[in-house]
Subunit: 306 residues, 2 copies
């Protein structure tokens, strides 16, 4: 089934210990849809300036990404510039230029309003609410957020959380949101606020799903070479939502599988600059990566110790 | 089969946000053996001063811990004093008084020399080598180490690593040992130095096994209440070695199960001060905790995405 994502379509300039890139395709909606399109058709809602390299987006259309919800406005595109530490464990934002993204007002094309699966990327929660108001009874809505909105738009964010089926959030932001450093406890707090399920992204340490009556932990793939972590979390979300949309439902077993697909997408994302990690990734190499997850986590506990 | 541990038998004074304890039973050999004794008989080699509360150790004898290899010497016992940060994520050592442990010369009682499974706790690697010299062809030797020995006794430590079947080490120390911040790469470096297998302890993030031809990742149990992390790593090692000794062998499937038992032991360890977390833990509650691991990690990947 179809999947809709609302988020940033940006140009990223990234410096890592292994090299630099200037004005590469980036933004949460781009990372998300490049990953999700390996599993299902994706509709993108966003905004770009008149300087955006539209031909680069067009090249991705053949993957099954529908860019018709991306508005082109006069002015500059959203640009982010960041620099990673020598071990990639932390990064510094050198520059953020919102450009036309600063006045982003998501408008869903009529054909997008009944899309059953929705991901609200990391944008102003007031805009996330406006997107929800335009949707016609979606089957599942997931959202992301960040420290900036937790601090500045807490009230609107809590309204979003009440309305979503799945919050996908990183551990630091979850701690900040709940005001509790203990991650499992903070996740339960979010459930009490109305989100039906929470997936806590823990970077190289994997992801934890917390839902009423159950928890699931999936490690990240241990990689000997990590080149650029930018967008890994959005690609993870793209894998999760892509798999759910492909399945047409989000039962607990489906969601667990979806998280493994998300982890696989995250492992592709970090292999090269920007979306370059997905070059050459096919349905088959995706399945290979997912199968290697089984080898990584399989344990036979059947034998009792008596 | 029997299991031997050589390590510290100490008195710990611990300050956490939830309270304080003074001169509680601690030390790597004590934590290790309290956990391992839920699975097999344990022989301890260590040293205590004339001030050690021997009656407290004697209480643990009924669990199947043989203290006859612990020498009592005139002088003060090893004391450690530490204080945890508000979120337990870091700790500061306030005081270390080696006492009689400073001159520790491990001497194995004759009846301990043919014990098939051995854990060399975090002591001077030169002493670890002397213990190995006293053993009669053990089936499996595992060891731990720490930053202090990596810095001050690197040569002896590398000799130990060449001779052991299993290095159990935390991620920071592994990075320091290998001079590489990438954990999977650093673990492979250790294998190239001669250790047959490595288990990387990652605290609340779980543990990663790296062996030739395979990797296994086990999360830590997500706990809503963590009281005192002291000794969790030693209890983890006690669970791993205890399960291996109980099984009588360390094939890859056994080692994976052993790590899950280790994770269970770690989760008991942090529930109360010191070894208090093991009060009331039975074979049955251990099995319950291990079973809950299955719920936490189980995913059915059988269904192909077509």
């Amino acid at each position: 089934m179809r999947l809709l994502v609302v988020g940033s379509v940006a140009l990223d300039s990234i410096s890592t210990p292994f090299g630099d890139v200037t004005d590469g395709l980036g933004g949460s909606a781009v990372y998300f849809s490049v990953a999700a399109s390996l599993l299902t058709g994706v509709q993108v809602v966003g905004v770009i300036g008149s300087d955006y390299p539209v031909a680069e987006l067009d090249k991705l259309t053949s993957r099954g990404i529908d860019w018709s919800g991306v508005e082109r406005q006069p002015g500059e595109s959203f640009r982010w510039k960041g620099k990673y530490s020598f071990d990639l464990s932390s990064r510094e934002t050198l520059e953020t230029r919102l450009g036309v993204f600063g006045g982003f007002q998501p408008k869903l094309p009529t054909g997008f309003r009944n899309t059953p699966f929705v991901f609200l990327g990391n944008i102003d929660p007031e805009l996330q609410l406006r997107v929800l108001d335009q949707m016609q009874s979606p089957k599942l809505v997931a959202c992301d957020t960040m420290n900036y909105w937790i601090e500045s738009k807490r009230e609107a964010l809590m309204k979003v959380i009440k309305r979503v089926d799945l919050l996908i959030i990183n551990d630091e932001e979850l701690r900040q949101l709940a005001g509790d450093w203990n991650v499992p406890r903070a996740a339960n707090w979010v459930l009490a606020q109305g989100a039906r399920r929470v997936i806590v992204k823990r970077g190289e340490h994997g992801a934890l799903l917390v839902e009423p009556g159950g928890r699931f932990y999936a490690p990240a793939f241990p990689l000997e070479e990590v080149f650029d972590p930018t967008g890994a979390g959005d690609c993870f979300a793209g894998g999760v939502l892509g798999y759910i949309a492909r399945s047409g439902e989000a039962s607990s077993p489906v969601l667990r599988r979806a998280i493994v697909y998300g982890a696989a997408m995250g492992s592709f994302a970090v292999a090269k600059f920007g979306i370059g990690g997905f070059e050459g990734v096919t349905r088959e190499s995706l399945l290979d990566r997912v199968q290697s997850f089984r080898d990584l986590t399989h344990v036979d506990l059947a034998e009792p110790i008596g």
